[in-house]
Amino acid sequence: EDQVTQSPEALRLQEGESSSLNCSYTVSGLRGLFWYRQDPGKGPEFLFTLYSAGEEKEKERLKATLTKKESFLHITAPKPEDSATYLCAVQFMNSGYSTLTFGKGTMLLVSP
């Protein structure tokens, strides 16, 4: 069964302390991998789409990378406003109409 696993479940960083979040997937074929940011009580906010191994996308302090079996979301010199839950989602080749399978997320807390 196709599935998506995110690690760690929670991560606490000091401001300026860089780190990475992981999203691994077991899949029969990948159509796309997506990263979202979700603040408490709000809907997920789209960040990046990755399609093929070796691809990278950047936005401010965030950089997403993709290999054949996992993706990393690198956070460089994080600030307290980066605190949120980061969700990874995958669209598999055998899923219909852009349906996505989500991981459970990584809750990031950045302390000043």
Binding site: F34, Y36, K42, G43, E45, T49, Y51, Y97, T99, L100
Partner: protein, 113 residues
Amino acid sequence: SQTIHQWPATLVQPVGSPLSLECTVEGTSNPNLYWYRQAAGRGLQLLFYSVGIGQISSEVPQNLSASRPQDRQFILSSKKLLLSDSGFYLCAWTPLGASYEQYFGPGTRLTVT
């Protein structure tokens, strides 16, 4: 630009009562529309999706139903709520011809008492 709306923002309903949640999208035509539920400590669970008016696909058997009476309107309903229906309900859309990313609405927090 495109905008997605959901209402109500919060809802407290007793067990056995009916439910109607509404989602509308502005600024696009023929979107794919999705309903998700997010329970505490769990990931987003896809409930329904729709590729056009009157076309609904269900991902999870349950006491919920969905309808799409207009191109940019998606409704989630129940005749009798269960305690297990509590959660954060999210509507999402994919633009026609887009590279599959979905854009989410602000969500509805439902508490069944």
